[in-house]
Amino acid sequence: MPFDPNDIMKDRITDIGPPKYDKFFPPVIKENYGKWKYHEILEPGVLVHVSETGAEVYTVRVGAARLLSVDLIREICDIADKHCGGYVRWTTRNNIEFMVDDKSKLQPLIDELKSRGNWFPIGGTGASVTNIVHTQGWIHCHTPAIDASGIVKAVMDELFDYFGSHKLPAQVRISLACCLNMCGAVHCSDIAILGVHRKPPFIEHERVQNVCEIPLVIAACPTAAIKPKKVGDYKSIEINEKRCMFCGNCYTMCPALPIADGDGDGIALWVGGKVSNSRTAPKFSKLAVHYIPNEPPRWPTTVQTIKKILEVYASDARRYERVGEWIDRIGWERFFEKTGLEFRHEHIDDYRLAMTTWRTTTQFKF
C-alpha cells in the first residue's frame, strides 16, 4: 500500500525502532559472535580477527568524509557487493570497514579500493591520526562559529601521512565542534578544534517582542547576564556583556540576538584529553591556543598549528604515551616551550572551580 497524503494515519507504523543489530551481520560475524580470540593489524588499515573456531575475518578500514552523497554510498555498495558478499559497516569515527572472510579475498579488495582515486584512503588503525569526528558547521548548523567539513578536509590533507601509518607514539584522536555547545562532545580529545564566538550578541530591539519569549531568553543564559528592559516602546532585553561567555544559548531561544560575526569568530585549540582508561584515567582537553581567525577555504594557521603540536609530540613522547600523558610527564611549561605556543591570560581559568587548576606546589620546571 503506497503512502496516502490525504490520510497519513492509514497503515501507519510507529515505534518499531531500528533493525535488530544482527539482521545485517555478514555470515562470518554472525557465526563467530562472542567467539573472537585475538586480532592483529597486518598493515595500517588492515586487520585480521581470529575466532576460537579458527574462522578469520579481514577488515580494511578506509577514511571518509562524514558528509556522503548517495552516489558515494552506492559506490561503497558496489565494492561491498563485489568483494564482501554485500555487507559493510561504519565505525564510531566515520570510517568505513569492508570485511572479507578469507585471506585470498583481501588483496583484490585492497586493489579495488586503491583503484578508485582518492575516495578510499586505507588507514586509521593503531598509532595513527584516525578520522576526525565533527559537527555540522556552516553546512547545517544555526549557531556555528566555524565550518566543520572544510576544516576537517584541510587538516586531514596535511596529516594524511599519519592516517595511513603507525609512526606516532600512540593513537591521536582529533575532533571538531563548531561552537561551545559541542554537540560532538570533543572535550576529551588529544587535539580538539573548537569554534568560538568572541562578540556578545547584538539586540534587534524592534524584533525581540515579536519573535522571542523574553522569560525563556533570560532563563537560557547560563551566567544570568540577560535582563528585561523597555527600549522606547519595545519590550526588549539588555545584556551584561562582561558576563557573556559566548555560548549562543540566547540566540537559540531568540533569533533577534545574532551572535555570529565573521571577524570576531574563529578557532580555539585544546590538547591532551582522552576517553580510554588505559594506563591513566580519562581526562579533559586543555586550552593550547585561545584564538585563531577563520581562514577559509583552507584555514592555514589552524592546520599548521595542529601539525606543529602533533610533530613536537611525535618527536618527544615515549611509546604508548597519549598527548595528555606526554604533557603530564613533561609539564605544561615544557609543552608551551617546545611547541612555541604563547601562554596568555586566557590560559588561566577564571570560570567556576578555576582554583582547582592553579599550581599549588613549588614543584615546576625552569
Partner: protein
Amino acid sequence: MALKHKTPMLDELEKGPWPSFVTDIKRVAERKPMAEDLLGLLEMSYEHKEGHWKHGGIVGVFGYGGGVIGRYCDRPDLFPNVAHFHTMRVNQPASKFYTTEVLRKLCDIWEEKGSGLTNMHGSTGDIILLGTTTDQLEPIFYELTHDLGMDLGGSGSNMRTPSCCVGKARCEWSCIDTQDITYDITMRYQDELHRPMFPYKFKFKTSGCPNDCVAAIARADCSIIGTWRDKIRIDQEAVRAYVGGELVPNGGAHGTEKRALDIQKEVIDLCPTKCMEWDGKNLKIWDEDCTRCMHCINVMPRALRPGLDTGATILVGAKAPILEGAQLGSVVIPFIKMEPPYEEFHEFVEKMWDWWMEEGKNRERLGETIQRLGMKAFLEATELQPDPRMVNTPRYNPYIFYDPAEVPGGWSHDPKAYRERHHA
C-alpha cells in the same frame, strides 16, 4: 555540466589526498537543485565567514516529538532550493553493520525525496538524512517504516538514540553484549525516544571494555562500560613469544614488524598499579591490585585476555560543557552483570528518570542535577549504597550534611537543661 553558482573557495577543497566532500556534493548538484543551492550557500558562508541557517520549529512526523531538525536558510532570495532544508535522524542498527540492499533502498528514498546528501553518521550515532522539505517528511517516514523496517532517532528533550562499540561482533575484549544492551534499551524505551518528557536530552552509550571506543565516559548521561571481577587470563607461552620477538606487540598498532617486546619497560613499568612481575619466564599478576586499565592486554592481545566473570560498570552524568562545565561520568554501580532480561538495570534506569524528571530544572542535564542536589540525593532515589569505588577521595571539606535521624534527639536542643549547666 556547469553549476549555477561559482564556488572558487570551495573548489580549493577539491585538492589534496583526503576525500573531498565538495567533489562529492558536486556530483549530486548536477542533477539535484537542492545540492546545487547548498554549494552556493556554503560558498557564501566561506565569503562571509558566517553560517546562514535559521533553526527551529519542526520536530518530527505526526505524534513524534523528535527525529527531525527544522532548518531554514536566511537567504531564500538567492538560494530558493534550500529555503527549507530539514534533517531527519534515522536510528542506526547497533554498531552500524548494513547490507548493501538496505543502503541502496535508503539511497533511492533520499534521491527521490531529499537532497541526496547524508551524514554517515551523526555524532550521536544516527544516520543523518541532510535536507528535505516539510511536505516530504511524512512520505519518507512511511517508506522508512514500511519498506526498510527503520524508524526515526531522537532529538530535543528525549532519550537520544543509544549507541555502542562493535562489541562481540568483532572484538575479543568485549565483556558485555553491547549490541544487545543497546537494542534492549532502544526498544524498551521507544516512547522516551520519540516523545519528549525529560528536562533535557538523555544519552546512553555502551562500550565493551575500559578502552571505551564510543567515548561513553565523556558524553553519555548513563555510560555502560564492560569490565570483569576475576583474574586476567594469561597464556604464559604467548607472553614468552612476545618477549622472544615471535609475536608483534600491541597487535601491530605500533608498527607491524616483529620485534622483541621489552616487557619491563613497555608493560610492567606502565602498569598504573604496579601489580605485575616478570621473572624471565612467567608473568605474575596480583589481580587483587589490578584496576583493569587494559594496557597490558592492549600490548599483548594474544597472551592476556579479560577475565570470565564479566559485567559492567555504570557511570552517570557525563556531558559537554554547556551549561555548568564539562563533566566525566561518575561511578554509581561499580559492577552489574548486565545479562538479559536486564531487569535490575531497567529498575535503576526508571528510578533515575523518575528522580530527574521530578527534580531536574529545564535544560539541565542529569549530571548538573546531581551536582546541584548532591550525589546522596541521587543514590537515595536510585536506592544504591555508598561505596568507596564511587569517589576519587572522600570529601576534604568539613561541611557534612548530617542526618538528624542519626543524632540523639534529632536537631532539637534542650535549652533549659543547657542553661542549667551553663549560666548566661
